[in-house]
């Protein structure tokens, strides 16, 4: 271990105790890791406040505004959930891949392709315009997942076959995905020269809470849509797969110790491709639910960087699928309220600071600091 202790006098001043950093031998208690995460977020918010202040803003006003316009009433809470739904699904996509230490940074591109795949069903059209709603929902979800999985398959295949660094290839696929969608928005499905497709007909919309307002009046005006159900079901399935199934065990083993996994006869390249497929499908489903649940048309600005935020969410949730759901709601609030916050980069900055402090604070998960009384030599 590094001798990062205080045996040496600092500027001639001798501390009355000795501080020694040493690696943990015994795992810390269960509450320790979440507590560190909370501390990291608090520290990050404080650093964010400092930067906003330095940039000429008023940090407390900004934070109060974020809190009020995301949790202030049932209506805005519902809007927060709407922002959180795609985050949940991409967060799940990222956390699943990360669990195998497969760095899928391409959830953003897979999201775009998922949106494309879902739109295709309506715009091509694959289903007749008057097809019943349930058919649209199923086919659009499958198509979105298929295209997202396809986008995940390419880097997965290249990684398995040629050992191509998946961080860069998935990222490059993001840029390609944006141009791919742009082509269809501008050239093929453009509506009257605008950079967007026509509005989908009503039966291609995901049901919202407000659709049931006649039976349950509380739901009036609430925009939360069926994507929430997708996300929760996906989280539960993913949690079951990861913690209860043999496949999940293989994935975790590859993540923790690839060499041991290989000796145990687990095919790494097969799992790389499979996990990228699943991860891509989840991100694609996020794109589908955003298109069918919120935007109702294909257009350019469908994501304020959901795919990238998913990376941070996965990390903050410690790659636990169930925790992803909760963390996503927080980030949904940040994105919802962040739209009106000036300067506009503040949400990105806060996300960055949160992630940096999270990783930094993990040091205390792996090491402990022992303070002992100094024995006078």
């Amino acid at each position: 271990m590094t001798q990062a202790d205080s045996t040496k006098p600092i500027m001639g001043f001798k501390l009355p105790f000795k501080m020694k950093v040493e690696p943990r031998v015994v795992d810390p208690p269960r509450w320790y890791s979440p507590m560190l995460s909370v501390i990291a977020v608090v520290v990050a918010l404080m650093i964010g406040a400092l930067v906003i202040w330095l940039g000429g803003g008023e940090p407390w006003k900004v934070y109060a505004h974020i809190a009020r316009s995301s949790f202030g009433s049932v209506g805005v809470l519902s809007d927060t959930m709407v922002k959180a739904i795609p985050l949940m699904l991409v967060g799940l996509a990222c956390s699943f891949a990360f669990r195998m230490r497969l760095w899928n940074i391409g959830a953003e591109g897979q999201f775009f392709l998922g949106a494309f795949g879902a739109s295709m069903i309506v715009l091509l059209p694959v289903l007749p315009e008057e097809a019943p709603k349930w058919q649209f929902i199923i086919v659009m979800a499958l198509s979105g997942m298929l295209f997202g999985a396809l986008w995940g398959f390419v880097p997965g295949f290249l990684k398995a076959k040629f050992n191509v660094n998946e961080i860069i290839s998935t990222l490059m696929m993001n840029y390609i995905a944006v141009e791919w969608n742009n082509f269809f928005i501008y050239a093929v499905w453009t509506e009257g020269g605008f950079q967007m497709s026509r509005m989908f007909q009503r039966n291609a919309w995901l049901p919202r809470l407000s659709d049931f307002a006649e039976a349950i009046p509380v739901f009036r005006g609430l925009t939360t849509h069926m994507g929430l159900l997708f996300a929760i079901v996906a989280a539960i399935i993913l949690w079951l797969v990861l913690s209860k199934s043999q496949w999940g065990y293989e994935i975790r083993l590859i993540g923790d110790n690839p060499r041991a996994a290989e000796y145990a006869g687990i095919s790494i390249s097969k799992n790389v491709i499979l996990v990228m497929l699943v991860s891509g499908a989840l991100a694609g489903l996020a794109g589908m639910s955003e298109i069918a649940g919120v935007v109702h048309r294909l257009q350019g600005a469908i994501s304020p960087g959901y795919g990238y935020t998913g990376i941070i969410i996965a990390w903050l949730a410690k790659l636990n699928p169930l925790a992803v759901i909760l963390v996503s709601i927080l980030f949904g609030a940040l994105i919802l309220a962040g739209r009106e916050v000036q300067p506009s980069g503040v949400p990105t900055l806060i996300q960055g600071v949160i992630m940096v402090s999270l990783i930094a604070i993990d040091f205390f998960l792996r090491n402990r600091i022992r303070i002992t009384r100094r024995v006078e030599e």
Partner: protein, 324 residues
């Protein structure tokens, strides 16, 4: 012919951006620290350069500030990866978010300053520009940063491969325990070269905003070039000379993609990209798709020859622990 020369000349200019970023990352990775935050650090550099130049009207001061700012940002990653021994991939990603957010917040309102802020000078080197073809591509009306790039490539190669500090740099990245036992400070050298990598990324960013495509366009300023640079390092097998080849090729490709939509005829045929501008979206995919192709080539070569990758790349050095 004229068209080709113009594209190659502007390709060299565009490639200079990638050159600085790639070689900077080579320095960092050669010391054993993978820094995925290049894109973010470039943004910080571009923003700082533009902001400082706007305030002082001195682009050289802007350039210097950009290097220092990006270098300072890189030290966040250095601290987390070297001292706190965290996963370098995650830390690099985090740095990327942090740096991007920082540049977006501090760069607020800079976009409107276009054409007001002075840029770095461009000039023709009279004697060398007389060389047929090459003179027009390399030495005619290029930015000063392009010329600095020419000198920088051999210097970087020589420094890494032929000098004593360069040997220390390589030893720290290949076998830190051995380097440590010889009295080379692994920690401080790694901090230093991460700083160098950050400064170079800042330089690359400043080259964009003060010279090659002047202005501040938020995240579009770099448009993924930092990530392409990280990919090029693998293609370059951690060698600055190969990095230069890759960077200039990519520069030319980026320009080609933009310029090919201009003329009405191509090689005597009607230019499909002129008559159907929507094909331009597929053209814009090319640099990114090509990065993936280059990665496949680079990875296959690296697998076959088992050379290139610094042995301790991505691994934290922990004194007294077994292994590298």
């Amino acid at each position: 012919m004229d068209f080709v020369l113009v594209i190659l000349a502007s390709g060299v200019a565009t490639g200079t951006i990638l050159l600085y970023a790639t070689v900077g990352e080579i320095f960092s990775e050669r010391s054993g620290v993978l820094n995925l935050g290049v894109e973010g650090m470039m943004l910080v550099g571009a923003m700082t350069a533009y902001k400082v130049t706007a305030a002082t009207s001195d682009p050289w001061l802007g350039l210097l500030a950009a290097m220092l700012a990006a270098g300072a940002v890189s030290q966040v990653h250095a601290f987390i990866a070297i001292t706190l021994q965290a996963d370098q991939v995650v830390s690099g990603l985090a740095l990327n978010f942090l740096a991007t957010g920082l540049s977006l917040v501090l760069g607020e309102g800079l976009t409107s300053l276009r054409d007001v802020v002075p840029t770095l000078p461009s000039f023709t080197i009279s004697l060398l520009s007389q060389i047929p073809w090459l003179g027009r591509i390399l030495f005619t009306k290029q930015s000063v940063m392009v010329y600095v790039g020419y000198i920088f490539i051999p210097l970087a190669w020589y420094y890494i491969n032929r000098t004593r500090p360069g040997m220390h740099l390589r030893s720290v990245g290949e076998y830190p325990a051995a380097a440590d036992s010889l009295g080379i400070s692994v920690f401080s050298l790694r901090y230093f070269y991460v700083f160098v990598g950050g400064m170079m990324a800042g330089l690359a960013g400043a080259t964009i905003s003060l010279s090659i495509s002047p202005g501040w366009f938020a995240a579009l300023t770099t448009a993924g070039q930092g990530w392409i640079a990280v990919g090029l390092v693998i293609f370059a097998q951690w060698n600055p000379a190969r990095a230069a080849v890759g960077a200039y090729t990519f520069g030319a490709l980026r320009r080609l993609v933009l310029d090919i939509q201009g003329p009405t005829t191509l090689l005597g045929f009607a230019n499909p990209f002129f008559y159907n501008p929507y094909y331009g979206f597929f053209l814009k995919m090319l640099p990114y798709a090509f990065t993936v192709v280059v990665l496949v080539i680079g990875s296959r070569e690296a697998n076959r020859k088992r050379i290139g990758t610094p042995a301790a790349l991505g691994l934290p050095y922990i004194r007294g622990q077994r292994g590298l």
